[in-house]
Point group: C3
C-alpha cells in the first residue's frame, strides 16, 4: 500500500486514513533501528536530496539516517554552500536538482509555501521538513506516533500545547493532525504569541496554563525562540518561564500520568525545567527515536517499491 | 576501453578520439539514471573525494550523485570547514588526501592550474571541476554531449557563445572542445569582456549579437556574474541585457530550430529571458541531466575496472 | 577479540595490552585500503556520527573514509550548521543523537573532557577525536603504529617531541602512549610552552633541542599554532624556527636513521623545513595512511561484530 499523493507537504492535505497508514508503517520500521544490522535494502538505488535553507542538526540528521537505513543515497545541500547566494530562484534550483533524477527532495525553507511551490514543478516527491511558521508535518506525525504508541490511540486524547503558537509550525501541524485524529487540542500562551483566528482550526484557546494542566493527557511544550525576545513578545525570559514554563511545581497540578512532549532543542530552565525534561513522563528522546521511524515510513510510502 | 590519461584536467589535453570515447560512454550511462534502481556496482570500493575551494551546488551534487550511482564512496570537503584556513599549502592538502588512498580527487579551485599542479603530485586520478577562468572540462563535455544527442554529431555545427568570454572557464573549454570536434565557434560579447587573442583559439569574434543569431545552430548564453559589475565591465544590467541578453524578440532572428544552452545558474531577465529559458528549444535542464551521465563516464573511464 | 571498553576517550585509560590489540588489528586492516575494492562488509548497517565542534579536514575525512571502507553509514555534523547555535547543551545534543540509535559517535570539541562527559550519558560508543588541549588518542595510536611498523616495536625507543607541549593534545596522548609501551620520551620547547609538572607524566624535559637530537630514534615535530603568537608565547616565528624548527642543518646532528613525524597540517619553514618534511626519513604521509587503518581498527574493536 502506498500514499496516493506524490508529496508530503503538510498535515492539512492528509486524510485521516493516510495518517493512520503512515503511523502503522512507521511502527513496522521502528524495529529496524534496534537491530544489529540497521539496514534494509528497500530503497537501494533511490536518491534522496536534503535541501536545507535553514540550519538544522536533528531534522536533517534524522532524514539522512532514515534514508541510509533504507539503503537510499542521501545528498545534503545546505544553503551556506549553495548557489542560492548566486541569486538563482528557488524554482530554478529545484528544477535543476530534479534534472539529476532524484526520487525525493526533502526541503526546509524559511518561507511558508516554499515546498508547495517546488512540488508543483517537480515530478519527484517533495517532503516539507519545515516551512516558515506554516507546517512541519513529519514532526507532527512523529508526535502523533509517540502519543499513539503510549496511549493506544489518538481519539479522545486531550492535548495541551503551550508556547509561541503564532510562530510555531510544530503547533500548527499538530493542531491539524491531532484534531483530525479525534483528539481535542487546547493551545495556551501569552496573548502576543497567539494568532488571530486560531480557534477556527478547531482548538480551544486559553492564557491560563495552570488551570489547563489537570485536564491534559499530553502536554506539548514549544521551544521559546530566545532570538524573538527583542521583538518584545514577552517581558522577560524569567517572566515567561514563571507563567508558561513547565517545572515540577506546575507539573503537580497535571495528571500523574500526563505525557510530556517537546520538539527540541530544549531550553533548559526556560520553557521546561531540567527535572521535567529528564523525568519519567518526558517522551522527548522517544520522539527523536520515533522521528527516524516516521521518516523511514514516509520515504517508503512515497518512493518505495515500483512506481505505478 | 579506458582513457589513456590518469586525469581529466582540461579539454586542451584531450584528443578528438578521447572526447568521442567519453561521449559514447556517457550515452550508455545516461540510462542508469532513468531506472527504478539507479545504481550499478561498477565502482564499489572506490573512493572519490570532492575537494571544493569554491561554493557550488550543482557541480558538486552532480559529481556526488554520479559517484554514488556507481556505488563509489563519496567524501565531500569544502573549503569553509577545512584546514586550508590553517595555512596548509594546496600541495600538502592534496598529498595528505592521497595518503588516504582515494581513487579520484575532484577539485574546484579559484586559481587557474590548481588541478594540474596537484595532478602532478598524486597517483590518484584528478578531475578539474573548474579552475579560475581557465577550464571546466566536464561542463564542456556535457555541452557537447547535449548538442550531439540532438543534432547527431558535432562536425559542421555552428555554435555561438554570448557573454563574458574573458572570465568564463565554460567558454574556454567549449571553444576548445567544439572546434576540436569540427564545429565552428563564434564568440560574442562586450569588448570589455573579450580576451585579447581569443581568435587564436580558432573561433570568430563579433560584438553584434543580432547579426550572428541567424547563422547559429546552437546558442550558448553565459551567466552574467553580477558581482563583476562593480568592475564596470558593462554600464548597467539593463544595457547588458538589451545588447547581449536573449529574449523572445532576439530569438525571432535566430533559426527556428536553434538549440539554447546555458551552464546555469541562470539570471532570469538578465542574460536570458524567462520565456526563452523555459521555451521549447532550451536544453538547460537537459544539460544538467547529461552532466550526471558525463561524470559517471569520466569516473568509469578514469578509475573503473582493474588498474592496468 | 574486542576491547573491553565501550569508548576510546584517551590513551590514559588504556592498558598496554589494549594498545597492542589496537595496533595489531590496525595492521590487518591497513591492507584493505590498498585493494582494488577497498571495502569490507564488517560494519554494514552500523551508523557512525562524526560530531565536529572544531573544523577539521584530515581527521574528519580519515574517520569518514574508515567508516565507509567498513560499509558503515557515516553522518557528518559540523558545528557551523548545527543547533548548537540554538543554545542546546552538549549533553542534550548527544542524547538526541543517541536517540537515533547510532553505534558510534566520534567527537571533536574545544573543551577538555567533552567526550568523557557525553560518553557517560550514551550507550553508544564514543571516540575522542581531539578535546581541547587534553587528548587525541587516535593520533597517538597512529603515531605508535607508524613507529612500531618501522622499528619493529616500541620498547626502548627514544622519542623526542618538540614544540608547544603545553597546548598540544597530540603531545599529551603520545607521552602517555609511548611511555606505557616502554619507550622513553623527552619533550623540548620554549619554557613558555612547557606545562608545569610535565615530568610527572614520565618524560624528560629540556629546552636545548640541538643537544637532544643525537639520542632520538624518533623526532616528532608539533605544529606551531601561529594564531597563538599574539599571546606572545614566543618572540617571533623566525626565532622559534631558529631554535625549535627542524631543518637540514639540525637534522645533521640527529641519527642518520631517525624517523620524523608530524601530526599535520605542517607549516613549511616554521617548525619543519621543506627538505626535511619531504625527505626520506619523513613519515608524515605514512602517518596519514596509517590513520585510516587505526580508525578502522577502532571501529572494529568498539562496534564490530555482535554485541555481547
Amino acid at each position: 500500500m502506498k500514499l496516493k499523493k506524490k508529496d508530503l507537504l503538510g498535515i492539512e492535505g492528509l486524510e485521516k486514513e493516510e495518517i493512520e497508514l503512515i503511523l502503522s508503517t512507521a511502527a513496522s520500521f521502528k524495529e529496524v533501528s534496534t537491530r544489529e544490522i540497521k539496514k534494509v535494502p528497500t530503497l537501494r538505488g533511490k536518491t534522496v536530496i536534503n535541501l536545507f535553507y535553514e540550519p538544522s542538526t536533528r531534522t536533517r540528521t534524522s532524514f539522512e539516517i532514515a534514508a541510509k537505513r533504507m539503503s537510499a543515497d542521501a545528498i545534503n545541500i545546505s544553503v551556506a554552500s549553495s548557489s542560492v547566494k548566486k541569486g538563482e530562484t528557488l524554482r530554478d534550483t529545484a528544477l535543476n536538482l530534479e534534472a539529476m533524477n532524484p526520487d525525493c527532495v526533502v526541503i526546509r525553507h524559511s518561507s511558508s509555501g516554499a515546498p508547495h511551490m517546488i512540488a508543483r514543478h517537480l515530478k519527484s516527491s517533495v517532503i516539507n521538513a519545515g516551512d516558515g511558521a506554516h507546517e512541519h508535518p513529519s514532526q507532527a506525525l512523529l508526535d502523533m506516533f509517540t502519543v499513539k504508541e503510549r496511549l493506544g490511540g489518538l481519539s479522545g486524547v486531550r492535548l495541551l500545547i503551550v508556547g509561541d503558537i503564532a510562530h510555531s509550525r510544530v503547533a500548527r501541524s499538530n493542531i491539524l493532525g491531532f484534531t483530525k485524529m479525534g483528539a481535542s487540542v487546547t493551545v495556551c500562551g501569552p496573548p502576543t504569541m497567539m494568532p488571530e483566528g486560531i480557534s477556527a482550526m478547531g482548538c480551544s484557546v486559553s492564557h491560563d496554563m495552570e488551570a489547563l494542566l489537570k485536564d491534559a493527557d499530553v502536554i506539548m511544550m514549544l521551544r521559546v525562540q530566545l532570538e524573538r525576545q527583542k521583538e518584545a513578545l514577552f517581558p522577560s525570559v524569567r517572566e515567561y518561564s514563571r507563567l508558561y514554563g513547565l517545572d515540577a511545581g506546575k507539573l503537580r497540578k497535571a495528571r500523574k500520568d500526563a505525557l510530556i512532549l517537546h520538539p527540541g532543542p530544549i531550553n533548559r530552565g526556560v520553557e521546561i525545567s531540567p527535572e521535567v525534561a529528564d523525568g519519567p513522563w518526558s517522551l522527548i528522546l522517544e520522539q527523536v527515536t520515533n522521528g527516524v521511524a516516521v521518516r523511514m515510513a514516509l520515504f517508503y510510502l512515497l518512493i518505495g517499491g515500483v512506481k505505478e
